[in-house]
């Protein structure tokens, strides 16, 4: 593809200082929440970002949204470097960049009506007059599968799945070109998840925007994404087509992660060989000279503890950061 990607991250780092001392002034170390992340998202594509809690996937999303200051690296969105943007310049990117959060209870203001919530992005950018906005809100509610008559209701009158639909309607209001979904279904009931996943897919087919889909559940991510990136301790350890990541995972962490996910079929389960990782994740504040996964890796060699493997292409469109891949 010669067209430049919609979003492109190059070696992005987000570090949090560890402050000690009586007035928390002394900086004694830093947590490398995101430690050199690079990926591209093409127009109309869905990139899945998976990893366990604390691996930095949400921090990466916050860095893109300008909610977290980057320590290094470039973030290019629609041809513009958006890393470090502030104030009005930052605000303007939200016309094209929207987000859907995990918790539909916390992400909607309880004192605003659905109409106010859904039209707030329009109001922020002074798009349309009041009457047009209400028409747009009704249209949006219909798009996400809610009754437009609910427009004067408050969030507490809705169930979790319905609230998530309101959050989706709000994200759609300005016709963005990229929507970041941070664990959009993990707070929902199992029987509701499929509804929301289908809705997200239908909307993409209709409006052709891109998703950055963040989740810890690899089966959901694989279903919705074109490509999947696996994160571990602030780094991407593997990135590939969603087909390939399951069929031929290259990084030992991806293999362990895949094998750990239970499959709802006892016959398949009986035949599977599960890779049980020993040990815990090292703290993100520790400086690791070699591969971050070496402490838990079942196949590590001496080199892994001394040298950090770079992310390299092992097949067309499939990269992994492992010496043995």
């Amino acid at each position: 593809m010669s067209v430049s990607p919609l979003l492109s991250l190059r070696d992005v780092k987000v570090h949090f200082p560890i402050r000690t001392g009586l007035i928390r002034r002394r900086i004694t170390g830093c947590i490398r929440a995101v430690n050199g992340v690079s990926f591209d998202i093409e127009k109309g594509e869905t990139l899945g970002l998976v990893g366990e809690s604390g691996c930095g996937k949400t921090t990466a999303a916050k860095a893109i949204l300008g909610l977290e200051k980057t320590a290094a690296g470039e973030i290019t969105f629609d041809g513009q470097n958006i890393a470090g943007l502030r104030g009005e310049n930052l605000r303007m990117i939200y016309k094209d960049l929207q987000v859907i959060y995990q918790d539909p209870y916390a992400s909607l203001n309880p004192r605003m009506t659905v109409l106010q919530i859904v039209t707030e992005p329009l109001a922020c950018f002074n798009v349309m007059n009041a009457r047009e906005r209400q028409a747009r809100a009704e249209e949006l509610l219909e798009t996400v599968g809610l009754d437009p008559r609910y427009i004067r209701r408050y969030p507490h009158e809705f169930s979790g799945g319905q609230r998530q639909r309101i959050g989706i309607a709000r994200a759609l209001a300005l016709n963005p070109s990229l929507i970041i979904c941070d664990e959009p279904v993990s707070a929902l009931d199992v029987s509701i998840r499929a509804q929301i996943i289908n809705l997200l897919e239908d909307l993409q087919n209709k409006y052709h925007f891109s998703y950055l889909f963040i989740a810890h559940d690899l089966s959901v991510v694989r279903h919705i994404s074109n490509r999947v990136a696996v994160m571990y301790l602030g780094k991407i350890v593997e990135i590939a087509d969603s087909k390939d990541i399951y069929a031929s995972p290259a990084h030992p962490y991806t293999k362990a992660l895949l094998s750990a996910i239970p499959i709802p079929d006892p016959e398949v389960e009986a035949k599977r060989r599960r890779i049980i990782l020993t040990g815990d994740v090292p703290g993100p504040d520790s400086e690791i000279p070699g591969c971050a996964f070496a402490s838990r890796c079942p196949v590590k060699i001496d080199r892994c503890e001394k040298e950090s493997p770079a992310l390299r292409e092992i097949a067309p469109g499939h990269s992994a950061s492992c010496f043995l891949a």
Partner: protein, 331 residues
Amino acid sequence: MAEPVLSVQNLVTRFHTADGVVRAVDGVSFDLMPGGSLGIVGESGCGKSVTHLSFLGLIPQPPGKIEGGKALFKGKDLLAMKPGELRKVRGNDIAVIFQDPMTSLNPVLKISLQMTEGMMIHKGASRAEAEARALELLRAVGIPSPEKRFHDYPHQFSGGMRQRVMIAMALMCEPAALIADEPTTALDVTIQAQILELIQKMRKETGVAVILITHDLGVVASVCEDILVMYAGRVVESAATGPLFARPLHPYTFSLLRSIPRLDAERKERLFSIPGLPPDLIHNPPGCSFNPRCPFAVKRCFSKEPPLTEIGPGRKVACWVDIESKKERAT
């Protein structure tokens, strides 16, 4: 056939709230065999936790009220016991592991104290005896160098390690039954795999019967021998694990299994989705609670609630329709 360790019969628990009566558990029955493993699956609010909290006497009363049924533990009815008697069973004969290991351990007490307390009270063990057993169990559940960690506080352990401590603590008094209520929901998948394997290992080694409560069908598929599927406070289907997954007979189980994206399946265009919302337990529709969301519903489903009926060896289902032939069942 052996006697069940725990036999719950027709348990009914309701909560009397200002908004109305919540039928949280509405006639639940099951047997737990010695050394067996029973999975209870359902969505939030289906009554899967309230079931075990009821027979362990952990429901706040009021607003909760146990309005019927029996829970026979080794032949004695837990529901008829006085609080003092029940206290001797809880943590001794029946132990519970809760979802969140952060909140179920006391943050201001060392784990050595928390682990030994139960055995000293229930079994009259000396501190030295209890500590020896605690160390042995900590080693069994895979805590590295337990002697060093024994006098640590809960916050010094990671989530997975804390859940291991909880499991060791639950096994201190050699319980006959272990109830694990969403034991891995708060954990990462790779840690979840470790904990599930540990529960399996401890079951084989100690012969403790396990009830695993979860919303994740994948988890029960790998761990449990028998499964109970709950919906709106009732058991809608019960079967051995193999047949349940191979041939789900209740429309809810059937739909739920098809709506989960599977890691090993071909990527489909769309997921099968269950329409509508989980039921409101105060305003249950007449007839079967699943009727507003059911693709197979017939006229009778809207007027009469289907009883849980045995339709084959070890298989029970509460549905008026045989979903395989799409015909109504004769009564």
